[in-house]
């Protein structure tokens, strides 16, 4: 059985800027893979290369079809939701999906279109002009467009940005069902809890380079350091300079600090006491996917 997606020695340059630097990985059919990376890591460049929008060097195969030599078959095998919201403003939701179906050589798929609209909570907008949709609705319509031809490989580039919580839940139930039916999913998102909950495997892109593909378990258990973190909320203060290197994450006065050992907790608290820094709240947590991801990037 061929892989759902094979990326071999793929590089992409924009003038002097290297967006993708010799990327290699393979995704097995039926997998749900998270592609992680900060803004500018190369995720969208990679997705556009797979889609046939970017020119690149190397080889990309979708369901065994080379995206350059067997372009049509490769494109029929995948559905992509681009990151940027871009909808044809002349059409209604239903017209958009009918034309999209035609572009993917599919006819008489009314039942499937109705099901997609239902699962994406767009049924009541079926005959609405796309101009009248909210940002979140437009994004869901783009997802619907990517699914009209039931592609074996579904690539989602931040599909839930701007989508509210309840609809996001329905959306992921739909995508999970599709995955259980055998569709392979490649997901990029800034909501790492979604990756944590949904993805079986993770690939990290950093400055155009891809890390090794790992199962989520492997990724979470990689031995960067001790697996606990200390979360402290300070009263009108910032962490001392000595601790700045340990900061994994910060939101206002709340800091998540990396720990090297249990003794580190005592050392850190002592330092706060010596510098008269008052603590409003303190928690010891196991590292989240986000903490490990930030460590992976060396931040």
């Amino acid at each position: 059985m061929s892989y759902a997606l094979e990326i071999e020695n793929v590089s992409k340059k924009y003038k002097d800027f290297v967006a993708l630097d010799n990327i290699n990985f393979k995704i097995e059919q039926g997998d749900f893979v998270g592609l992680l990376g900060v803004n500018g890591a190369g995720k969208t460049s990679l997705i556009f290369s797979i889609a046939g929008i970017n020119k690149f060097s190397g080889k990309i195969r979708v369901m065994g079809y080379d995206v350059v030599k067997d372009e049509i078959k490769a494109k029929l095998s995948m559905g992509i939701v681009p990151q940027e919201v871009a909808i044809d403003s002349f059409l209604t939701v239903h017209q958009t999906l009918k034309i999209q179906s035609g572009l993917y050589h599919v006819q008489n798929n009314e039942k499937w279109i109705d099901e997609i609209l239902e699962r994406l909570s767009l049924t009541d907008k079926k005959n609405t002009n796309t101009r009248a949709l909210s940002g979140g609705m437009k994004r869901r319509l783009m997802v619907a467009q990517a699914l009209v031809h039931k592609p074996p490989l579904i690539i989602l580039d931040e599909p839930t940005a701007g989508v509210d919580v309840e609809i996001r839940k329905n959306f992921w139930e739909f995508i999970t069902d599709l995955n259980h039916q055998g569709h392979t999913i490649l997901l990029t998102t800034h909501y790492l809890e979604e990756v944590d909950k949904l993805c079986q495997k993770i690939i990290v892109l950093n400055k155009g380079k891809a890390g090794k593909q790992q199962t989520k378990h492997e990724f979470m258990n990689q031995s960067f350091s001790f697996d606990k973190t200390l979360q402290v909320t300070l009263v009108n203060a910032t962490v001392p300079n000595e601790l700045k290197q340990k900061v994994l994450n910060q939101q206002q006065n709340t800091y998540i600090l990396e720990l090297a050992s249990d003794d580190d907790i005592i050392n850190i608290l002592n330092l706060f006491r010596q510098q008269n820094i008052k603590i409003e709240n303190i928690e010891i947590n196991h590292k989240s996917l986000e903490d490990i991801f930030m460590q992976h990037l060396g931040r």
Binding site: A86, F90, G102, L103
Partner: protein, 251 residues
């Protein structure tokens, strides 16, 4: 062909939805041209015996609107898709560049035909002229729309904003149109302008279409037909190559 049909349907629907701008607009413009110029220049000689200025103007106005609209159909659709970003859905779709270009081109020709009939309804009140040969008129209409539609595809692909399209229309398109004998017999031009006009392909489209209406031509249409066929193939081949290579649309 399902992909071709879908894209063609989308492009036709696009101009039909905004029919006030795309159909009623050309009809009104042509009506006003005929109303004013037909009256003001009613005593001007057309250089063709028995043909009044109002009659001379009817086919000119029709084909002018055909050319303007077939050019606008492709160029505006492409630049809007690029501007909105939804061109990615076209680029991601499993359709060959040749089919994509053909769908855009056929949609431009369909718009040209629809506009031609609409404009005819708008100006037929000023002259009793009916096509001398419907087939010849349609031939030059289709070839004119194909040339202008193809040109619109090229301009839509290479332009990065609406200003560049407007620049093309103002500095290249409009002079070519006004030099093409829509409003005057080119033989009445000064020698320099007349010789320059012979290089203008639009002249042959206008003269060919007018011949289909009044059965008289003021230039050599055999040469004109060959020249137009050659240009139609060349322009659309260039459009195909640009799209296939992804110039200014793939990075």
């Amino acid at each position: 062909m399902i992909g071709f049909n879908a894209l063609l349907r989308r492009e036709i629907r696009r101009f039909l939805i905004i029919w006030v701008q795309t159909i009623l607009g050309p009809l009104t413009a042509a009506f006003i041209y005929e109303l004013i110029f037909g009256y003001v220049f009613r005593n001007v000689s057309t250089g063709i015996e028995g043909v009044t200025y109002a009659t001379f103007l009817v086919p000119g106005l029709i084909i002018m609107q055909v050319m303007i609209n077939s050019f606008a159909n492709t160029s505006s659709s492409l630049i809007q898709s690029k501007y909105n970003g939804n061109i990615v859905f076209l680029l991601m779709s499993p359709n060959s560049p040749a089919l994509v270009i053909l769908a855009y081109l056929v949609a431009a020709i369909v718009r040209g035909i629809v506009v031609a009939f609409a404009v005819f309804i708008g100006v037929c009140w000023f002259s009793s002229v009916m096509p001398y040969s419907f087939l010849i008129s349609m031939f030059f209409l289709i070839i004119g729309a194909a040339i202008c539609g193809g040109l619109g595809i090229i301009v839509g692909i290479v332009s990065v904003n609406f200003d560049q399209i407007a620049g093309f229309q103002s500095f290249i398109w409009t002079p070519l149109i006004y030099l093409s004998g829509i409003f005057y017999n080119v033989n009445s031009f000064a020698p320099l302008w007349r010789n320059l006009a012979y290089f203008d392909p639009i002249l042959y489209i206008v003269e060919g279409f007018r011949y289909g209406f009044i059965g008289e031509a003021t230039i050599n249409l055999t040469f004109g037909t060959i020249y137009l066929l050659f240009l139609a193939v060349l322009i659309n081949f260039i459009a195909y190559v640009l799209f296939k290579r992804g110039v200014k649309i793939k990075y």
